[in-house]
């Protein structure tokens, strides 16, 4: 599914994204605030949803090859995170929905 559809479903605000971010393919969603768990994931074309709004969240997403990072609960995104997202070429969004609600909304459009 195109990332732009995911972003629309969550009314998400794009903080930074590569030029072709709309077409990035998302096949799976991982929602967690525990980076230790994120680092165990090994899926491709993944969106990470987290309420942990830190540089380590961006870093962890990038380490596991996640295509995009969604900060839940309208958490404040720091300049350092944006810098890192650019550097790591990872699309960064903020949504006002909490993690659970974000997952429910995405579940409706991702699962047939």
């Amino acid at each position: 599914m195109d990332l732009i559809r995911v972003a629309d479903a969550l009314n998400a605000e794009l903080i930074w994204g590569p030029d072709d971010w709309e077409q990035i393919q998302i096949e799976t969603v991982f929602a967690s605030d525990l980076m230790s768990d994120v680092l165990m994931s090994d899926r491709d074309n993944m969106l990470l949803i987290t309420s942990l709004s830190t540089e380590q969240a961006v870093r962890s997403a990038s380490i596991v090859g996640s295509e995009a990072l969604m900060i839940a609960n309208s958490k404040t995104v720091t300049a350092g995170m944006i810098e890192l997202a650019k550097d790591q070429d990872i699309a960064l969004f903020v949504t006002r929905f909490p993690k659970y609600e974000s997952c429910v909304r995405l579940g409706r459009i991702l699962e047939p």
């Binding site: 230790s36 380590q56 870093r59 380490i63 596991v64």
Partner: protein
């Protein structure tokens, strides 16, 4: 990359890598002069004099039970008690080191204890050697000359742009979460630029990142080294302490000594080391309280076989 390789910092870090890479067994003197409990101080004096050594371990059935040093000998000599058994004069509390420890542990031990030599024991706790500063100096000179030759060869035949080969070391500091991850990101990019598959890159990046986080969250500081060839990525993490009390426990998923602050950063779930092992083809850990921890993880680049499905 070859430019960076020539930086003096990188070369001095290679020296550090060296003292972690060498085992005590490769450095120690194998020929040990030891005496049994019922030998006299006079016997020890003769052994020391004839072999120009400054300490003689006392053994019982190959186990070290004490050590007689020059100091003990002088004390006995002063009191005119050279015919006493060694057990009356020896130091009974002996610090031994294991032969398979990295050389760095021995160097820390010299800093930590006042002794001038350490008896070395094998897994069965039997005396197999002895180590002094002289051994360490000689081994370092030997290894450094070898490395210097290697580096000179490298300079003469610089690696071509597309070569995968890389030796790089990063320093990490306690609680410096801001920089924890930089090394992994750099290595990830390096491998990506050279066309390594995303699955392999993920395994290297995860192992490296978990080790970086461990260094900043749990150690008092240390270094993370990468040695990449066309066949494999070798990641080694070395810290200066505090060391892990129970390595088996640390390897158990869910076991963690992390404090609240580390947890607030999204880590400290006790998955770090098990996760490094999970993504690695080869994994080794050595730790000693007060001396530090060394972890080595190897990921082969020619086999995707350790694929993610067969792992836990």
């Amino acid at each position: 990359m070859s430019e960076e390789r020539m930086q003096p910092l990188q070369s001095s870090l290679r020296v550090q890598e060296l003292i972690y890479g060498l085992r005590i067994s490769e450095v120690m003197t194998n020929k040990v002069f030891a005496v049994s409990r019922n030998c006299t101080m006079r016997d020890v004096r003769i052994i020391m004099k004839e072999n120009a050594i400054s300490g003689v371990p006392v053994v019982d059935n190959k186990r070290v039970v004490g050590i007689v040093t020059m100091n003990d000998l002088m004390n006995a000599l002063e009191k005119g008690r050279m015919d006493d058994c060694v057990i009356l004069w020896m130091a009974g509390e002996v610090q031994t080191l294991a032969e398979d420890m990295p050389l760095s542990f021995a160097i820390s031990a010299f800093g930590k204890f006042p002794f001038r030599q350490f008896p070395i024991v094998n897994k069965k706790n039997e005396l197999v050697g002895i180590i002094t500063f002289r051994n360490i100096n000689l081994a370092l000179i030997r290894e450094l000359s070898r490395q210097l030759r290697e580096m000179e060869n490298q300079q003469e035949n610089p690696a071509d742009e597309n070569s995968l080969a890389l030796v790089k070391v990063y320093q990490l500091h306690r609680y410096d979460f801001e920089n924890g991850g930089k090394a992994s990101s750099e290595i990830k990019r390096y491998l990506k630029e050279r066309g390594i598959s995303s699955k392999l890159i993920r395994r290297v990046a995860v192992a490296s990142y978990e080790l970086e986080i461990n260094l900043v969250a749990h150690s008092i500081g240390g270094m993370l080294g990468f040695d990449i060839t066309k066949d494999r990525v070798k990641i080694s993490s070395h810290d200066r302490g505090p060391g892990i009390e129970d390595v088996d426990k640390a390897m158990t998923e869910g076991f963690s000594t992390a404090n609240e602050w580390i947890r607030s950063q999204g880590f400290g779930a006790g998955m770090g080391l098990p996760n490094v092992k999970r993504v690695s083809d080869e994994f080794a850990i050595k730790s000693s309280v007060g001396m530090g921890t060394m972890v080595q993880a190897i990921i082969y680049l020619n086999s995707e076989e350790k694929n993610e499905d067969q792992r836990a």
